[in-house]
């Protein structure tokens, strides 16, 4: 059976038999400055110590710009300007006025969507079709959604007297740079807070572009401050005495450090940390759709997704078929120039991350896992990793237990619902899960038992500004999106 299908699919080997003509998205009119300063108090200012670090295009290894490196003094300036803005105007104007600034940001971002998408792709390595079709529209969606909450806060928490917290310190990761900035800034501002935000060091550009846009939108100076730098810059924000709220998205390791360092500080904390999402396919599922869903679950954004469906569980009777179909599908995946509109998988975000992913692939092999990668060719320059499948793995395998944050899928089989629930929940994480079945009742039977903040039925990696997102257990606490995401920024 499997063999026969293989032969059929062989005829459809687009990658091998049909060459796609390049379809690059033009970046001709995109303006990237040589040097970017810190956005503090509504102005772009040079860092006190005058230090800068380069940001590169991970697909070409070419330098795009120099980015200011903020130290504790710069962070202090940013926090002070946020506090000043909060005390003197942001907390003084009405919710409806606040909301209009957010609506304005959403609209202006919409007007410049293409530009932001291209820069996102150049700086981060993600396929342009994802930046254009997902990251930027989501960011816009977030600003537009929360804009409307600004004058309706009292309805969000009935019986309470909601108040803003003050100054929010926000640290975001490199996988969805602009979208993460929107997830953080929009609800904070809507609830009446001012923010100091730090983008990840490999992907500062779109956050700084957003800073320009925020300046152009006439948002009062100091309401949004964006400081760039590495981990120590983030630590300076998180531990600043005048920060009332900390929101962090990133690894569980760093999340725990932050949680510990904030002990007794009285700061409100929300953490959106790592994951090891289970994607479960039952025998009664629509198999082709499920296979497509698995590909999307784990290879979306090169697997740099905290909620990626990186653990696949297939019911025994269809395991062989599903695996074959996955392998066949990998043959048709296009990996390469992220700016090409046909590209499915772009560049790994950084050399460091590529090393991490490759280390895990080696660990998987050494643990006895069976590796599958398609024989596709990779560009000479840049950071690339072929989509990878590991079979012959067990619960104890490190590639099954630990978050890899790359295009690596592990495949395990199961027989019964009880067994797969046990397997799926046997992790420290609890962010996401997918359930593929034709039976609605089974979706709920299984979904209810899964310890995961988001359950996708016959789908994966779906997001919406109205839909609360966040984890159980060591995947963090607090939600982003929807009404629940708003309360994270209220007293």
């Amino acid at each position: 059976m499997a063999k026969k299908e293989n032969k059929n699919i062989a005829d459809l080997k687009f990658g091998a038999t049909i060459e796609y003509a390049p379809a690059p998205e033009s970046n001709a009119h995109i303006e990237i400055k040589k040097k970017y300063e810190l956005f503090i108090g509504g102005e772009f200012v040079a860092p006190e110590k005058g230090k800068y670090f380069p940001t590169i295009n991970p697909a070409t290894e070419e330098k795009l710009a120099d980015i200011a490196k903020a130290d504790a003094t710069d962070v202090d300036k940013a926090v002070k300007s946020a506090r000043y803005a909060y005390d003197n105007y942001w907390s003084k104007i009405s919710g409806s006025q606040r909301g209009k600034y957010l609506f304005r940001i959403a609209r202006m971002l919409q007007e410049r969507a293409r530009e932001f998408a291209i820069i996102e792709t150049m700086d981060g390595g993600k396929p342009i079709k994802e930046a254009k079709g997902f990251d930027v529209p989501m960011a816009i969606n977030w600003f537009f959604y929360y804009a409307g909450w600004a004058d309706k806060i009292e309805y969000a928490v009935p019986g309470k007297n909601p108040e803003a917290l003050g100054v929010a310190g926000q640290v975001i990761p490199w996988n969805f740079p602009l979208m993460m900035a929107a997830w953080k800034i929009a609800p904070a501002l809507a609830a009446g807070n001012c923010v100091v935000l730090k983008p990840a060091e490999t992907t500062s550009l779109t956050a700084l572009k957003l800073a320009e846009l925020i300046q152009e939108a006439g948002v009062p100076p100091g309401v949004v401050n964006i400081v760039t730098g590495e981990g120590d810059t983030g630590a300076a924000i998180v531990n600043h005495a005048d920060v009332d709220k900390v929101a962090f998205t990133g690894s569980t390791r760093v999340g725990k450090m932050i949680q510990k360092s904030l002990a007794g500080s009285g700061k409100k904390l929300t953490l959106e940390l790592g994951g090891k999402g289970a994607n479960i396919i039952f025998e009664d599922a629509a198999i082709d759709q499920a296979v497509e869903g698995v590909i999307n679950a784990v290879y979306f954004n090169q697997g740099h997704v905290c909620c990626a469906g990186s653990r696949l569980f297939v019911q025994e009777g269809i395991a062989e078929t599903v695996l074959q179909k996955l392998k066949d599908r990998l043959k048709t995946i296009r990996i390469g120039n992220p700016l090409d509109k046909n590209t499915d998988i772009g560049a790994i975000n950084s050399k460091k991350q590529l090393d991490t992913v490759q280390d895990y692939i080696n660990i998987g092999i050494n643990e006895g896992g069976k590796l599958y990668q398609d024989k596709c060719s990779l560009p000479k320059k840049g950071f690339w990793c072929k989509p990878t499948i590991f079979t012959n793995v067990s619960q104890a395998s490190r590639v099954v237990q630990e978050e890899i944050f790359g295009p690596v899928l592990t495949v395990q089989t199961f027989r019964t619902i009880d067994e797969v629930v046990e397997l799926a929940n046997n992790t420290y994480y609890g962010l996401s899960a997918g359930v593929w079945t034709d039976k609605g009742s089974k979706v709920f039977q299984v979904g209810n038992q899964l310890k995961a903040g988001v359950v996708w039925a016959n789908s994966f990696n779906k997001f919406d500004a109205t839909s609360p997102f966040g984890g159980f257990k060591e995947s963090g606490f607090g939600r982003e999106g929807g009404l629940h995401g708003l309360t994270a920024y209220l007293k």
Binding site: G159, G255, A290
Partner: protein
């Protein structure tokens, strides 16, 4: 010396009045773990004086190992309790109130024994009963306040509900014998969580007697576990154990807050620091013990990842 002692003994003997009626049977105060009343595995006790009649009682001086046993019991009770219907959880909570009402005088006496005035003790017990009735009502309603149906831009039925965070350890307030003790954990219990409660030392007897109320109210074993002992010693196991998902701590002591929040980071435990003075019954105290679970259910056919690939 010896002379003096024997003289004192002689005095006692001379003044002793024989009670020819009923000789009271004092109760052995044990722990409450997994629906049973074991003694502490440590064999230790805390001597306490009944402030009303000066009699002596020995309270179990619980240990880290007792806590471990309670955590295991709470974990295994979790599935069953979370699966009870909200209506059933409401009825059980109401049953606790009924049982408490029936034994009101015992709790008044026990609070008096801990040094509370009769008037205050009576108020405390009555408030505790009212609190149980209040949260009974929330058991099958909080979900409607907490949940949302989210109007996403794709053809999915998307909704978020509150599900229990899991095993919650609770450090009861020092200020109140019964109302404060119940206010600390009843919201978590009503929310479908299982709890391990550290009773305030001076109200230990009252807390263990309350376990008897629970035991006769159809509360499944392991759902509520009560440990007595030294707060200083037990704070660490209550907040570091990997089986615990969330910690509720009543305190004004900054050092305690730091210690608890630091150890919570070991497995990203949620912490809820509460101040007894601000305590007020509220569904938001239930919400603090919930996780939000969001489900995307397709409407009109499954979607294999859409147009992303």
């Amino acid at each position: 010396m010896k002379d003096k002692q024997s003289k004192g003994a002689a005095n006692l003997q001379a003044n002793y009045k024989i009670n020819t009626g009923h000789t009271a049977i004092p109760k052995t105060y044990k722990l409450y773990i997994g629906g049973a009343f074991p003694r502490t595995e440590s064999g230790r006790y805390l001597k306490m004086k009944n402030k009303k009649d000066n009699s002596i009682l020995n309270i179990s001086h619980g240990s880290k190992k007792d806590f471990k046993a309670a955590a295991a019991a709470a974990r295994s009770a979790l599935g069953g309790w979370a699966k009870r219907t909200p209506y059933n959880r409401a009825q059980i909570t109401y049953r606790i109130a009924e049982m408490l009402e029936g034994r009101k005088m015992q709790f008044v006496a026990e609070l008096e024994a801990a040094g509370v005035s009769k008037n205050e003790a009576q108020k405390d017990v009555e408030a505790a009963i009212d609190l149980l009735v209040y949260y009974t009502g929330w058991a099958d309603k909080f979900q409607q306040i907490y949940s949302t149906v989210n109007p996403v831009s794709e053809p999915y039925f998307n909704f978020s509900t509150g599900v229990p965070v899991g095993v919650v350890s609770v450090i009861a307030p020092k200020e109140s014998g019964l109302w404060g003790f119940l206010a600390a954990f009843i919201p978590a219990f009503v929310g479908g969580n299982t709890v391990i409660v550290l009773a305030e030392e001076k109200f230990s007897a009252c807390a263990i007697s309350f376990a008897e109320v629970l035991n006769s109210s159809d509360v499944p074993g392991g759902t509520i576990n009560i440990i007595t002992g030294k707060r200083k010693e037990l704070l660490a196991p209550f907040t570091t154990h990997m089986e615990v998902n969330s910690v509720i701590l009543y305190t004004e002591d900054k050092t305690e807050i730091i210690a608890v929040q630091e150890s919570a980071a070991v497995n990203v435990k949620r912490t809820s620091i509460r101040h007894f003075a601000d305590e007020k019954q509220s569904p938001y105290l239930i919400f603090e013990t919930l996780e939000t679970k969001t489900t995307w259910h397709p409407m009109g056919g499954s979607d294999g990842g859409g147009a992303k690939y």
